[in-house]
Symmetry: C2
C-alpha cells in the first residue's frame, strides 16, 4: 500500500459542505488502496478573524499567546474533517501538531521544524485510521505551541511526507496547477504537467503565489514529489519533482511577474569603500528586503546607486535612506513605485546561450524599456514599467512558444 500525504488549504474547507467534499476525495484515495495522512489548514478566514479578535483586546500582540490562539483554527478544521469521515463510515482520527510529533524551535509565529517524531501517526495508520493532522503548528521542547508562519501548512505536509517516506505529497487548494504564466493576465497560459523544484522555487520567488518556497525547498531536500491540484475538480494538476527530463524540450518553462516593485536611486554618491554598507545595513536592520542592486560606473569618483524593494516597503525604505544619503553627501534620493518585474524561468536555460538576447529583443520590439536586469542560472529577470507587464508577458509567452506542449 502506498502512503499518500494530502494537504487541503483554507478555501477547500471553508464550510461544512466543502469539508464533506474534501472528505469524499479522501475516501476515494483510501478506497484506491492507499494509506492516507491529511494535513489541513484553518477554515476560510478563521485565522484573520482570530487576529482581528486579538487586536480588539490589545494593540501589541504577544506572539506566544497569538500562536496558541491561531493554532485552534487548524485544530477545529481537523476535528470536523475527521467527523465527516466518520459520517461516511471511515475510521479517522485528528491529531494536533503536537500529537503528530511536529517539534519546532521556539521562534513564535515563524517557528522552524526541528524534527518530526511521527510515532503516533504511524500507530494510527496501523490501526487502519485515516490520520488528519492540524497544519501550521508544532510544539517546543517546553511543550509550548508554536505556529510555522507563512506557508506553514504546506511545510507541515511536505515535512510529514518526508518523515513518513510517503510516495507523494498532494497539495489541494482552489488553484488547479502551475501555469506557464498567470492565466488571469494571459488567457493563453498553459498548465504544466510537471516542473522541477528549482524552476518552481524561481517561479514562486519571482511572483507565483501557488505554493510557499519553504515547502518546495523541503520537498527538494527530501525528494518528496509535490502535486499541486484543485480540490474543486478532478483536473490533472502539476507535479513538482526532480529535474524532469533529459530530452530536448522547450527550455523556458514559465514566465513569472510581480507588480509589487519599487526602485530607489541615490544620485551622486561619493564612491569610496563602505558606502554600500552604510546604506544597506540600516535597511536590513529595519526589516526591509532589498532585491536588485545596481551601481553605475563611477565618473570622477561620483556614482549612482539603484536598488529595488517591495512597493509596500517603499515609504519605510525612503525614511531610512534619506538621512543617510544626506550624511554621506549624495546629491539626491529619488524613487519610482510604478515598476514591475518579469522573469523567464527554465532549467534548460543554464547550458544554452541566446535566451537573454531573445528576451531583450522581444521586449525591445514590443517597445518595452528595460530598467534593470538580474539573472540566476535558470532565470532572467527584467524590471520594467508596471503598466507594460501584461504586454511583456504576452510577448514573451509567444516568443518562447509556451503555448506548445513540452
Amino acid at each position: 500500500m502506498a502512503l499518500i500525504v494530502q494537504k487541503y488549504g483554507g478555501s477547500s474547507v471553508a464550510d461544512a459542505e466543502k469539508i464533506k467534499n474534501v472528505a469524499r476525495r479522501i475516501v476515494r484515495t483510501r478506497e484506491e488502496g492507499n494509506r492516507v495522512v491529511v494535513v489541513v489548514s484553518a477554515m476560510g478566514d478563521t485565522t484573520d478573524d482570530l487576529i482581528r479578535l486579538a487586536y480588539q483586546i490589545t494593540e501589541k500582540l504577544d506572539t506566544r499567546e497569538l500562536d496558541v490562539l491561531l493554532s485552534t483554527g487548524e485544530v477545529v478544521a481537523s476535528t470536523l474533517l475527521a467527523m465527516a469521515l466518520h459520517g461516511m463510515g471511515h475510521p479517522a482520527i485528528s491529531l494536533s501538531g503536537a500529537q503528530a510529533g511536529i517539534r519546532t524551535d521556539s521562534a513564535y509565529s515563524r517557528a522552524r521544524i526541528t524534527n518530526i517524531e511521527p510515532r503516533r501517526v504511524v500507530a494510527e495508520l496501523d490501526k487502519g485510521n485515516i490520520v488528519i493532522v492540524a497544519g501550521f503548528q508544532g510544539i517546543t521542547e517546553d511543550m509550548d505551541i508554536t505556529t510555522l508562519g507563512r506557508g506553514g501548512s504546506d511545510t507541515t505536509a511536505v515535512a510529514l511526507a518526508a518523515a513518513l517516506k510517503a510516495s507523494v505529497c498532494q497539495r489541494y487548494t482552489d488553484v488547479d496547477g502551475i501555469y506557464t504564466t498567470d492565466p488571469r493576465l494571459f488567457a493563453g497560459a498553459r498548465k504544466l504537467k510537471d516542473i522541477s523544484y528549482e524552476e518552481m522555487l524561481e517561479m514562486v520567488t519571482y511572483g507565483f503565489k501557488a505554493i510557499h518556497p519553504r515547502a518546495v525547498e523541503l520537498g527538494e531536500l527530501f525528494g518528496v514529489p509535490i502535486l499541486v491540484a484543485s480540490s474543486f475538480n478532478d483536473n490533472p494538476g502539476t507535479l513538482i519533482k526532480k529535474e524532469v527530463s533529459m530530452e530536448i524540450r522547450n527550455k523556458v518553462r514559465g514566465i513569472a511577474h510581480d507588480l509589487d516593485v519599487a526602485k530607489i536611486t541615490v544620485v551622486g554618491v561619493p564612491d569610496h569603500p563602505g558606502i554600500a554598507a552604510s546604506i544597506f545595513v540600516p535597511l536590513a536592520e529595519a526589516g526591509i528586503s532589498v532585491d536588485t542592486i545596481v551601481q553605475n560606473a563611477s565618473i570622477k569618483n561620483i556614482t549612482d546607486l539603484t536598488f529595488t524593494v517591495a512597493e509596500s516597503q517603499l515609504a519605510g525604505a525612503m525614511s531610512v535612506v534619506r538621512p543617510i544619503a544626506e550624511s554621506i553627501g549624495a546629491r539626491e534620493c529619488v524613487s519610482d513605485a510604478r515598476l514591475g518585474k518579469i522573469s523567464i524561468i527554465g532549467t534548460g536555460m543554464q547550458n544554452a546561450p541566446g535566451y537573454a538576447a531573445k528576451m531583450f529583443d522581444t521586449l525591445s520590439k514590443a517597445n518595452i524599456n528595460i530598467q534593470l536586469i538580474t539573472t540566476s542560472e535558470i532565470r532572467i529577470t527584467c524590471i520594467i514599467e508596471e503598466a507594460l507587464v501584461k504586454d511583456a508577458v504576452i510577448a514573451l509567452h509567444r516568443a518562447f512558444e509556451l503555448e506548445t506542449e513540452d
Copy 2:
C-alpha cells in the same frame, strides 16, 4: 502572599470588552498582593456554535473528536485574556488543560480528573506570571484531549485550587450569589453571606443552577472555600464553606424548586418480588434517571407504583414502561407532566424536629396539595402541581422567615 484561584464563566468573557473588564478585575486582585490563577470558560455561545457546526458535518458525533473541537473554545478565551493582561502591562501566560497538568480518564465528553500535576502552573507563578488556565479540559495518559462535561470549568477551578492549596476559589458569572430562593420567582429572596457545602449540594441538586454539584463536592472533599459572585459588579457574593456556625440561627437556609418534573404511575401491578427491577433496570439502561419512587401498600397483592422523571425524559420513559406494564399484567400506565418540586434545605434541620410538619401545614393552608414527599437529612421535598410552585415558594419563604438575616 495568598494564592487565589478565580474562575470566569462564558457570559463574563463573551466579547472583547468583557474580557478587558475581567482583566481589570484580575489586575486588582494581583495588586492587592495575591498570586493569581484564573480558569476561564469559552466565550459566550462558542461551545454551542461549535456543536452546531459539528452537526452540520455529521449527525452522529464521535466524542473524542468532539472533545478536541470543544476544547478550542476555552483555549481561545484563555489566550485573549492573557493578551488583555499584557495590554495592561501585567505578565501573564495562558496554559491549556494539558499544560496545566489536568490529567483525566478517557471517558470523552464527561471525563473525570484523575490527578493534577501543577508543576508548570507553579513555575509560571514563581516567574511572577498571572496564570490563565483553559477550563473544562484535560489530557489522558495517551495525550488525548478530553472535556469534563457539565460543570467542567467549575470543576477545573476547584480542583486546581485544591492541588495548589489556594486560600479560596472565586467563581464569577452573571449571578451574584446564592439566594434563599430564586429571585426571579420571589422578589423577597435574600442573598446569603455563606452556606455550607452540604446545603449547597442539596440546593443545586434540587433546582438551583448557580454552580455545578461536582465542583461543590470537590470543594467539600478538599476543604476549598468557594465564593460565588458576579463579574459585572462588586456586590459581596456568597461563600460556600464548611458548616458555618454553631450558634442558634434560622435552620432553613433556602428553598429550591424545579419545574422539570413528570410523574408516571403504573396502576394495578401484581405485587411480587422482582417487579420493581423489571421496570427500573430497563429505564436505567435507557439512560433515564428516576427520582422519587413510591409504592402504595398492597391490597390483595395488587399495588400502584409511582415514580418521577425529568419532564424532558417523560416520552422516552413511557415508551420503555408501557410494554413492560403490559407484559407484567398491570392495569394501566398514566403520566402527568404538569408537576413541580419544592424543597426546604438547611443543615440545622437534621437535629431539630417539626420542620416537616411546618412545611406540610404551610402548604395545606395555601391550598396546595402534596402528591409525593422525599427527604434527606437536611432537605424535605414535596411534589406539587406545577402551577402552584410560585405560591408555595412565597408561602414557605415567609413561614420559615427567610427574609430575616441569619
